[in-house]
């Protein structure tokens, strides 16, 4: 009972954070709402018995990635965003589209999967199980993903570096590019 109560409260916090993310006009408020979403998701994972995933969610998403988001917002000194009224096409097709889409997803989920509730701790959660799954059962997908991430990093480095600057600073005239 207590379990369900805590789960529902954090579910509500999660949704509220997500809505706040969209409504806020200042990027830093939106970023902090996203931190709240990540944090409450971690609590939900914890309540489902996936303690390792919950901890990693906090360490990686809330503790590292979102810090970098905030860092970038601070660095660029992003101000309050201008709000437009939105295009009429978006109002006409967007909102019904989202509604139809979500109804479809809900319908498919209800039709094609066991919708019984999952007891806490019923799914594999301990770090040992996850390690075994990642490095044994799903080794190839795991390694392929790591190569994919590496390529993304290389792409970011290429995009961020200016070849012209590099050539300029290499010239021995004492001026930095």
């Amino acid at each position: 009972m207590l379990h369900l109560l805590v789960f529902s409260v954090f579910g509500l916090v999660c949704v509220a954070g997500a809505i706040n993310l969209l409504v806020q006009r200042h990027p830093i408020n939106s970023a902090l709402s996203l931190v709240v979403v990540m944090g409450s998701l971690a609590v939900e994972y914890l309540l489902l018995g996936a303690e390792f995933v919950a901890a990693v969610q906090v360490i990686v998403y809330a503790g590292a990635i979102m810090v970098l988001f905030v860092f970038v917002i601070m660095l660029l000194n992003a101000g309050v965003e201008n709000r437009t009224k939105g295009s009429r096409v978006a109002m006409l097709f967007g909102i019904p589209g989202v509604l139809i889409g979500s109804v479809l997803v809900a319908w498919v989920l209800l039709q094609h999967s066991g919708t019984g509730s999952v007891a806490a701790g019923a799914l594999p959660g301990p770090p040992k199980v996850i390690g075994w799954l990642l490095f044994h059962d799903f080794l190839l997908p795991f390694e392929v993903t790591s190569v994919l991430v590496l390529i993304a990093i290389m792409g970011a480095v290429v995009l961020a570096s200016h070849p012209a600057d590099v050539q300029q600073s290499a010239q021995p005239d004492g001026k930095e590019g």
Binding site: L32, E51, L68, M74
Partner: protein
């Protein structure tokens, strides 16, 4: 244990832990002023009480009664929330740190920590990694260039050194095979050949210990990595605009983080509460493990202060180059070698 009993025991433990931690924070400040004073051929605090022992109390009263200035140009909600974020996460991380074995008090069998969880180490890492928001948001919301630079430096530095810090701990995790701080300490019991304790630092993790040491100094913004609050260039860095209790909260958060880092080093590398304890009457035998733990934490904190009194500050590019080009490869090498040795032994 019934639910009511559980809640009662938890509350008692939280009150005790917070009381001990905050007192320790206050007296670490006193110790630092004393030791750094003597290093610099001064006396440090001497006026309030014997040896200046009541100085922390006087400072606390002063902080509470000072005028709480709110500069007009700040972003108010975050400016007020930032010190709270910093302090709350700094105090929370102590909750999963065990300081001894299970004890039975008044018929209640309970571990010597607030909560015994099987992913204790990950919780400490997660909570401390959230603490950076306090510093970063303080820097940004102050709306002042010195604060902003301090906040930027803090977030860049903490994210960079967190990687080395985490990797330095993986070697210990491989040796112990568990995320539970209690299991990690229990794996370090006993001795080699009867006289060398089986602490992780003597089990080949000495490189990891030094990586942890350096990364921890950077994580807690202490000398020689105190760039976020470098007085000579940034006035006071991220807390330039803060006064009274809000400033004190940052101060307390910094020292609480130091204590957490010292506790973690003791648990992971220095054998936790293990030490010679099979002598003396039963009561002494029961208290000795806690004594060893506190002693090791004290030695680590003393090292912190010693370093502060000895080393100058790094330059910012040196800090980043050291973290990414030296500490990180070293941590990865240590991890690979440890994993190889454990795999060969198995």
């Amino acid at each position: 244990m019934s639910l009511g009993e559980f809640i009662l025991v938890s509350i008692v433990k939280i009150v005790i832990a917070l009381g001990v931690l905050l007192t320790a924070v206050a007296y670490t400040v006193w110790l630092e002023r004393k030791v750094v004073g003597h290093i610099q051929n001064r006396w440090g605090p001497t006026r309030v009480g014997p040896f200046g022992l009541l100085q922390p109390l006087a400072d606390g009263i002063k902080f509470i009664f000072k005028e709480d200035l709110l500069p007009p140009h700040v972003f108010k909600p975050l400016f007020i929330a930032a010190p709270m974020i910093a302090l709350v996460f700094a105090l929370t991380s102590i909750s999963v740190i065990p300081i001894g074995n299970w004890v039975t008090v008044f018929g209640i069998h309970t571990p010597l920590e607030i909560m015994d969880v099987n992913i204790g180490l990950l919780i400490v890492l997660g909570v401390t990694s959230l603490g950076v928001y306090g510093v970063a948001l303080a820097g940004w919301s102050s709306n002042s260039k010195y604060s902003l630079l301090g906040g930027l430096r803090a977030s860049a530095q903490m994210v960079s050194y967190e990687i080395s810090l985490g990797l330095s701990l993986v070697g210990v995790l491989i040796l112990a095979g568990s995320f539970s701080l209690r299991d990690i300490v229990n794996a370090q019991g006993g001795t080699f050949w009867g006289f060398i304790p089986r602490w992780n630092i003597f089990q080949g993790q000495i490189v990891a210990f030094f990586i942890y040491l350096m990364a921890a100094y950077a994580e807690t913004n202490r000398v020689p990595f105190d760039l976020p609050e470098a007085e000579t260039e940034l006035v006071a860095g991220y807390h330039t605009e803060y006064s009274a209790m809000k400033f004190a909260m940052f101060f307390m958060a910094e020292y609480a983080n130091m204590i957490t880092v010292a506790c973690l080093a003791t648990l992971l590398f220095l054998g936790g509460w293990h030490g010679p304890h099979r002598f003396g009457p039963p009561f002494v035998q029961a208290v000795l493990p806690i004594f060893w733990f506190v002693l090791k934490v004290f030695v680590f904190l003393f090292l912190y202060i010693w370093v502060r009194g000895t080393l100058p500050r790094f330059r910012y590019d040196q800090l980043m180059a050291f973290g990414w080009k030296f500490l990180l490869p070293l941590a990865i090498a240590n991890l690979v070698i440890t994993a190889l040795i454990v795999a060969l032994r198995a």
